[in-house]
Symmetry: C2
Subunit: 224 residues, 2 copies
């Protein structure tokens, strides 16, 4: 089946704290989002790529595309007011009828192996997300203000790319109302079970200035 | 009330992957555990400190104590086969009758402010643990092999120091059977509610070689 990927990078941009949004910050001399794009191209050089960006960053992105030879390789669309709205816009721009992966633009360390594992599981089961174990002890907050110990082994932490057969994903987003923090939640709401795939500890989501420093360290040490 | 802290650093040592256990690895020229000790001494220069170490590391620790002027300032005891057993050994060595904090020896970035906040909450409520929000989306694994989206905001991730009135903590450990990944679970099993205190994102637990590199970065950047 053919592959498409929607790289969600920005939404409304409300949470940015730097002049340059984090997806454009440079890691080892290259914008984070370009690292992410190259990871997907390394998996499949012909993959259809759609990036969803804040509307006011499309011009900056055009310059980056020119600089890194990405014109005609990547479609850019403006995001919406929420992650869910941004993914919807990405789906409108995405032509893929095979498998669609939705990935955080600020997870540049995703490996070709992991991308392949997620697409393969999606082809087989319809919907697949990569997960890792939760490393810290957790407690559940109760409505009365108290809390109680919870077994962290009952849960997993979700990464991306979350991969789906295109039809399942599109129908699920059409039917979905409200907001979700990830796509598996949307697809699950449409009644499709989600297949869990082993994620990668290094598939970090870069959300803070500290994360960016860590990312630079990872690249420098050859891990990223 | 007087303060004591039990720094749990090693247990049986089964999970160590380096020749030098991680609590002794150097960060900015000083062993991780010495950083942790200094954080507690910065909070209260008179605090009673008990470190729990693998039995076969007590000799190495004696050398470190000499080097860093910690003899007569820190009591060292051998740990047990599990975290729970190690804390029990620490409690035997701990003379404190006031407030006791139990802290991961490999969380060197704990601030004096956070230590103070936890002890204050323990003095008021009997039992207090620092928590931070969970940053990643989570799913619950179901017994039938399926999974379902779970709201991460229902849960918090647990840090240390977990602080308690000494009597509550000692009685809880006396009554507790089995193993627990943290002390709040033990105290809760004895029927005491746990007060949640705002933790610190930088209060990292150093468990992998990558964590150590990150820690060096944090110290270098002045965050740690």
């Amino acid at each position: 089946m053919e592959h498409s990927a929607i790289l969600v990078a920005g939404g409304s941009g409300q949470r940015m704290q730097t002049d340059v949004p984090k997806q454009f910050l440079e890691l080892a001399g290259m914008p984070v989002l370009v690292h992410t794009i190259r990871a997907f191209q390394q998996y499949d050089s012909e993959i259809e790529l759609v990036v969803v960006l804040p509307n006011n960053e499309l011009e900056r992105w055009a310059g980056i595309c020119k600089q890194y030879g990405l014109i005609d390789r990547v479609t850019a669309v403006a995001g919406g007011a929420s992650r869910t709205a941004s993914v919807r816009n990405g789906l409108v721009a995405c032509k893929g009828m095979g498998l669609i992966g939705i990935h955080d633009g600020v997870r540049p360390f995703v490996s070709a192996t992991l991308i392949g594992r997620c697409f393969a599981a999606a082809e087989q089961h319809g919907a697949a997300v990569p997960v890792v174990s939760i490393q810290e002890s957790i407690r559940e907050k109760l409505p009365d203000g108290r809390s109680r110990a919870e077994d962290r082994n009952r849960f997993v932490a979700i990464q991306t790319p979350q991969c789906f057969r295109a039809g399942i994903l599109r129908e699920a987003y059409e039917a979905f109302e409200g907001e979700a923090t990830d796509d598996a939640t949307v697809v699950e709401a449409a009644g499709h079970p989600i297949s869990l795939v082993e994620g990668e500890r290094n598939n970090l989501k870069l959300t803070t200035p500290l994360d960016l420093q860590l990312a630079a360290l990872l690249i420098h040490s050859g891990i990223g």
